[in-house]
């Protein structure tokens, strides 16, 4: 493998991993605010740097599948909770802003409005932290494996750094247009993304081999999206049916009265 090919291979592999981490951070930041995901990302990067510095090439000995299984399983549980709520909101069964209103009310009641405005979102912190840590570890593995086999770890590290810089720049460019998307649509998308990544990593950590490798993520996303839209359609239809029969019953009662 030439130096150019090593650079391109590491750059592309790390771009895929960085896009996955960026997707999670963007999704959480856009729906719940940027402060906690930013701290989560920073904390994950610090921990990552410490782990890489302390362990170096020995990092290859840590079983990645265990991390994938735990992080994937947790993301899957969180994603399913988000997606279920967003589907119920889309179908008109759950109020669109109920949780925010309840949360704000509870926090204000507990500690006053000044603290409520600056309350730290531990949930967003954890999601961003886990996503960035897992993808960061994968980037570290790529750099160490490609770099060690080709005897050029510095070039592999430069390629990984370039990939991260490019992906972060793209993320900064797209976050403003994304912020104009309606809130529940974003929450729906976050639920879909967390469920997709959770299923992918969780199954991979459990020992499954995806037929199309990382490209399976897009297929999974499409299948989950179609399935969720089907459920929203069914819920809306049954809502309309029950509303129609209630109106018919009330009309019949009115007509039967003298």
């Amino acid at each position: 493998m030439s130096a150019g090919f090593l650079f391109v291979a590491v750059f592309l592999a790390c771009t895929v991993e960085a896009v996955e981490a960026l997707t999670i951070v963007l999704a959480v930041g856009l729906t719940r605010g940027w402060r906690a995901p930013a701290y989560g990302t920073g904390a994950a990067l610090v921990l990552l740097a410490a782990v890489v510095a302390a362990l170096g090439p020995a990092l290859k000995l840590i079983p990645l599948h265990i991390i994938q299984l735990v992080v994937g399983g947790l993301l899957l549980v969180f994603g399913l909770q988000w997606l279920r709520k967003a589907m119920l909101r889309s179908a008109g069964i759950k109020a669109k802003h109920d949780e925010d209103a309840i949360y704000k009310k509870e926090v204000e009641k507990a500690s006053g409005s000044a603290k409520a405005a600056g309350a730290f979102d531990a949930y967003s912190f954890r999601i961003a932290f886990m996503g960035v840590l897992l993808e960061g570890l994968e980037v570290a593995f790529i750099v160490l494996t490609f770099g060690t086999t080709q005897g050029n770890i510095p070039l592999a590290a430069i390629a990984a750094g370039a990939a991260i810089v490019v992906v972060v720049a793209v993320g900064i460019a797209v976050h403003a247009p994304l912020a104009r998307v309606p809130e529940n649509m974003l929450k729906y998308a976050v639920g879909l993304l967390l469920t997709t990544f959770g299923t992918f990593w969780g199954a991979e950590g459990a020992g499954a081999k995806w037929p199309a490798s990382d490209a399976s993520i897009l297929v999974l996303l499409a299948i989950l999206w179609v399935a969720s839209l089907g459920v929203v359609y069914l819920l809306k239809r049954s809502q309309q049916t029950s509303a129609g029969s209630a109106a018919a019953q009330s009309l019949a009662r009115e007509m039967s009265q003298p």
């Binding site: 399983g73 459990a206 020992g207 081999k209 995806w210």
Partner: protein, 72 residues
Amino acid sequence: MILKWIRSFAFFWYDFVVGDDWRLAIGVVVGLGLTALLAHATSVAAWWVAPIVVIVVLVGSTLLAGRKARKA
């Protein structure tokens, strides 16, 4: 005092991980457990198990919540 702290710590994690519907968390454990079983104990491809379990659990839990909301 310690018992109260342990109880609130346990409740926080239960609420954080399990959330609104415990069936979702059970579904994830079952789905990933079946995937691991199939991947390590047989020669059958295991990648399809988790997506199917996830979709069944999601559809079931959401439709159940919809039915409960109509009855309420």
